[in-house]
Symmetry: C2
Subunit: 713 residues, 2 copies
């Protein structure tokens, strides 16, 4: 870790506090109080001309009075004085600042302007800035608790191998407090607030390298740097360190609320979701998942599959867990004969030895039951995961002994093990936490976490290599395909010429400027044919009478040519019509739609959708971020609701999914190699033919970003 600015934030050697307060409960006093309480070993410089001493530290009247270097400055003064102070920090060569003050982008236009100035200072200096409107940072290892969060008010730090990196201080506090309740802890506690400079993505990217860290918890209200998030995710995957991400903003209402909270301008949630899927970020659903799943994701166990053994003292709980496991994609292990007969010897006659194993109340009488059962399960290769679920364990049970037996089994065995202990005595969950055993009061929460962990591990095991894109320094120019400006739109003919350049399979077609030319083309392709007007000025060809399908012979063709031309001349001039497109008619196949949209945060995004009426009614689509590998394309296609129609349902023929995936890869290559020239691409329909017959892009519409105007005529 060798970024001086970020190092100064995460592990400062000296900290100055502007307007330091003698009151340990005030925002400008609390951090000093925490530094004192937890025994921070670096230098602490209160700055307050009113006092000689603040909370035991010599007080300075100004930053410039401090004799040595200052790594980190904490700022909790009124918004309007912040800029001046920051400039002084730059002058003093301070490495980083944390601005606690609020009153910036979250309050509206005026505040947003000051915040822009803050960003500007960060950009034009080497000084890094966290905040404003943030609760700061704590490193629980070095005890540099430069935060005013009440998280640290109870005088005991809960240290652990998680990094909690959040825009919201309250979310960081909840995640921390819940982990504490579970007997767990964190190394970093970070709340970045409005993110004028340093943001969650950058910190995730940086901290994932920290050898103390096993899991990163990230809470986003918006993503400011999509590329950096992807880089962070790639690095985390390489290092096998899971990122758990919580991000509200699925609803417009939540986006609005986020904006008034941290001034966040959230992008499309579905794109964020696609990024998570594609790069192995584990998206969690709520604060409980964010806070409790690190228990599981920290486990140093390699999962081979999804086959679960359930060990319970309650038949009813076992039945419910089986259902929940299946619902969430886990499998119920079929025990080997050996396991069954071994279990038979240690379990009472009336206990169920099949999965789920019901130990019954026998657990009360037979103190060896657990320690006898675990080795049997650990040895069965039909089992990948062991879930322990207890309820009604109270008076009479040797609870400490049970916890020890479970911890021992987990330590000695290869398989992952998690515990759900319903309505437990006080302290049970915490005791497991302290021994590094994932434990939950809520069985559903445990199963959700285990299912996500299995998905994460099994997926990250698959070799997701990057596609072999030729990342040319200079993008291939598309200028020659643009005939004229019409808001950047290209004609169908030129759109398809671009597709052909990247070997995307378009329909056979040619441009005719007379009925004779048209007839010649039709003879070459064979009837029936389709005819369409080709003009960058007509985007809605069908509506303006510019399309004729199923033309059976030369007579129909000549009539169609005239009719399309006349109809189109109602809408545009003759010299705006490039010609009439004559096209082979694709009669069979399943309609897919492929498109490119630009996301303001993540850039180009490929949409793969069921075509025709499906997409409108059931919103059957998947998003992919280039570069796309074959594996990614296949996964996207196979996860469409209509995928069974592609893969042969009801005795119908299988369609050419392979060709579709290769088309998606070519599309991704085209997007990459053409840089930012593409604004929007819509290929609809793309007909997927029977296996071996490929696909045909029947219609295509390109919109370019910057068009060199080539004047017509």
């Amino acid at each position: 870790m060798q970024n001086p600015g970020l190092d100064a934030l995460l592990n400062p050697n000296s900290i100055a506090i502007i307007g330091a307060s003698t009151d340990p409960n005030k925002i400008s006093g609390r951090s000093i109080h925490y530094l004192n309480t937890y025994g921070y070993s670096g230098k602490v410089y209160p700055i307050n001309p009113k006092y000689e001493e603040v909370q035991g530290h010599r007080s300075y009247s100004s930053l410039f009075d401090i004799p040595g270097e200052v790594d980190l400055v904490l700022i909790a003064i009124s918004a309007k004085h912040v800029i001046k102070t920051l400039n002084e920090c730059v002058q003093k060569k301070v490495k980083a600042c944390i601005i606690f003050s609020s009153g910036f982008a979250e309050l509206g236009e005026e505040g947003r302007k000051i915040q822009e100035q803050i960003s500007e200072i960060a950009k034009t200096s080497t000084m890094r800035i966290v905040g404003p409107n943030c609760q700061g940072i704590s490193n629980l290892k070095t005890r540099s608790t430069t935060s005013f969060s009440t998280s640290f008010a109870d005088e005991k730090l809960a240290y652990g191998s998680t990094a909690t990196i959040s825009q919201s201080g309250a979310v960081a506090a909840m995640a921390y407090n819940i982990q504490k309740d579970y007997g767990r802890g964190v190394k970093y506690w970070i709340a970045t607030g409005n993110e004028s400079d340093v943001n969650v993505q950058e910190l995730v990217h940086y901290i994932v390298d920290d050898p103390d860290i096993k899991v990163v918890q990230a809470y986003f209200e918006d993503v400011k740097d999509g590329e950096l998030l992807i880089e962070a995710a790639k690095k985390a995957r390489q290092l096998k360190k899971p990122i758990l991400a919580l991000k509200p903003g699925k609803s417009d209402e939540a986006k609005k609320a986020a904006s008034s909270h941290t001034g966040a301008l959230a992008g499309e949630d579905i794109v964020f979701d696609a990024i998570c899927q594609q790069y192995g970020i584990v998206r969690v659903d709520d604060i409980m998942e964010l806070s409790t799943f690190p228990q599981i994701f920290e486990l140093d166990k390699k999962i081979q599959g999804k086959k679960v053994a359930i060990l319970t003292n309650s038949g009813g709980l076992g039945v419910m867990m089986v259902d929940k496991c299946k619902e969430l994609g886990l499998e119920i292990a079929q025990f080997s004969e050996e396991t069954l007969s071994k279990l038979d010897t240690i379990l009472p006659e009336f206990a169920a030895t099949e999965n789920p194993i019901d130990l019954t109340a026998q657990l009360l009488n037979d103190k060896q039951l657990l320690s006898n059962a675990f080795p049997i399960l650990m040895e069965d290769s039909q089992i990948d995961i062991i879930l322990v679920a207890f309820s009604g364990i109270g008076k009479g049970y040797d609870i400490a002994g049970m916890i020890n037996d479970i911890a021992k089994a987990s330590k000695e065995g290869d398989k992952m093990l998690a515990v759900s202990w319903v309505a437990s005595e006080k302290g049970v969950i915490e005791a497991f936490g302290e021994k590094g055993i994932p434990a939950f009061p809520d069985p559903t929460l445990m199963i959700k976490g285990v299912a996500k962990f299995a998905d994460y591990q099994l997926r990250s095991r698959r070799d997701i290599e990057n596609s072999t894109v030729n990342e040319t320094a200079k993008p291939i120019s598309l200028d020659s395909y643009a005939r004229d400006s019409s808001n950047g739109f290209l004609s169908e003919y030129n759109s398809k010429r671009i597709l052909k350049k990247w070997s995307l399979p378009v329909t056979k077609e040619g441009l005719a400027n007379s009925a004779d030319e048209a007839a010649e083309l039709a003879n070459a392709f064979g009837y029936p044919v389709v005819m369409k007007v080709s003009s960058e000025f007509i985007q809605h060809k069908t509506e303006s009478g510019g399309v004729r399908l199923n033309i059976q012979n030369a007579d129909e063709l000549r009539e169609a040519y005239e009719s399309i031309l006349q109809n189109s001349l109602q809408v545009v001039d003759r010299d705006q019509i490039e010609g009439i497109l004559v096209q082979e008619m694709v009669q069979e196949g399943f309609e897919i739609s492929l498109g490119l949209k630009k996301d303001p945060i993540f850039g180009p995004v490929i949409m793969v959708a069921s075509g025709g009426i499906y997409i409108e009614v059931i919103k059957d689509f998947r998003l992919l971020v280039p570069p796309v590998t074959y594996d990614m394309a296949k996964q996207a296609v196979d996860s469409l609701a209509m995928a069974p129609l592609l893969n042969g349902v009801r005795g119908k023929a299988k369609l050419d999914v392979d060709a579709l995936c290769r088309t998606i890869i070519s599309f991704s290559q085209m997007i990459q190699e053409s840089g930012d020239q593409l604004e929007e691409v819509d290929m609809n329909p793309v007909m997927v033919m029977e296996e071996g017959q490929g696909v045909r892009i029947v219609d295509a519409l390109f919109k370019l970003k910057e068009l060199n105007l080539i004047k017509i005529g």
Copy 2:
């Protein structure tokens, strides 16, 4: 409540315990211990010839030695002696027994046979039996704790207005213990085990009348009496007492596990789900929901709509809650101008006054903030529900004062209010529980519960009257439609004659026994027509060449007639062919499929499905249980994934959903009025035409149950 058997179970005046133990930890001793501990005021008769006295009560050597009447007998002896003891109980005129012993249907065939004998004893006597393999019953009001569950081991009963009725003792125990942790309690704690006689349905049906009970929690591993469950649900709806139902068994693995737990033979989960939907049973998803939702469902508040106000001390929590509310179908209230300006006067400048309201850390300084804010929200008619969500409330906060302020607001205001308090100090959730305020450590769980409560209340408010079915004592006979036995199948012609009898809209059609007759029919209907073989012996007409579509003229018709006849004669004899059906050809419309299936538990079930390929690929169907009202039919149709195609999407015409709903109602009437004669009905496709054009049942296949054989020829 005046069922002597069930009364003896729920509120016995005298209890005998067979094989009573002096050890309060043994199964046969524990119940006596509990009865003593909690001060049960009725008579307790231990039966054990070995002792003079058992746990302070005089012991008897046999049931017959007991001087007076015995209401309830507890049996915890070996399975093989149970029958003998039960017979003695009958002889002694015992009103009810609870059999704790295991070793019955849950262990296999042998046990199942003994269990059948138990059922037989219950059937042939007035004595009611709970169990075997059950943990028994506790009435926490009268303290008749006739259970051996460890739930009651901690010497404090948690009494409340919920009834916990469960097959599984462990599930009852979890539900009870979790409720206790939340400061709540139950009146009845019931675990019915293998249900040889009394089952959860019957107890729900009975207990819902108890004026002490506000909410029923029910856990099913199987449903033995579907009709009774429906009756219970109807009564509960009438009484406005919610039934919360938890039932695993979605997966085959869970069904298997349930069977080895309580010998349960679970039916189709989707049918149970449809019953819940249709009769307002609130199906919950797991043990946490079952245990914590009564807090909400007990509330005596009338919800007017789904518009939620969120009051939080954390912007991040507010943003997440907004998202979760939207995801779960709640709406985010738009505050009135008056509310906004009133909030402005009490909130600090930097707090968000829009929804979600962020009180910020100001809550620490301004002790009046909460008590000032609530009346403002309670008065705004734009708000239906108030959700309070706190986090990071620790040192320095007046927690008791906050709890009081919230309780006061809930008591004084009309609107429902629920609290989520993340990572709280110990005792906070419990304190809310004791004041009758729903409180949750997990915001997601709270929102799920509130959303289900709003659905429940708003739905039960709608007038779901029963359909005006003419419930004839004697079903209308279908014998005359059956020409011969072929496993009960009818020909298409006869199937449709039945449909016509109940005014279901079938295609215009007639039966021809010569090409001339066919031509005559075609002329009457107008070309194009469809021709099909009509025979109860050919169920797969298309495959055997018995169908011709789109016949355009007389020539084609004559050729088709011969061809269909010849093809069919390859499969059946001439006298098995009723004739050739000539039918109008329905060319437009959306394909729906309507069917009837018989569920082993719930009887006839109507399936409404998107037709054609949709149903196979996306399983787009809904189930309805007759009698079906217009409202139910409409709700089912509108909730199909493909509903937008019926209701006009992409500028397409709206289709005749009204006629479809009326068809479903007629279908339901037909099912009711024909009693149990119908085994299966398949109408596919049912074409839904444009609005005002009705629907056409194009094909139909009936299977009758008992067919009076009318011999052919």
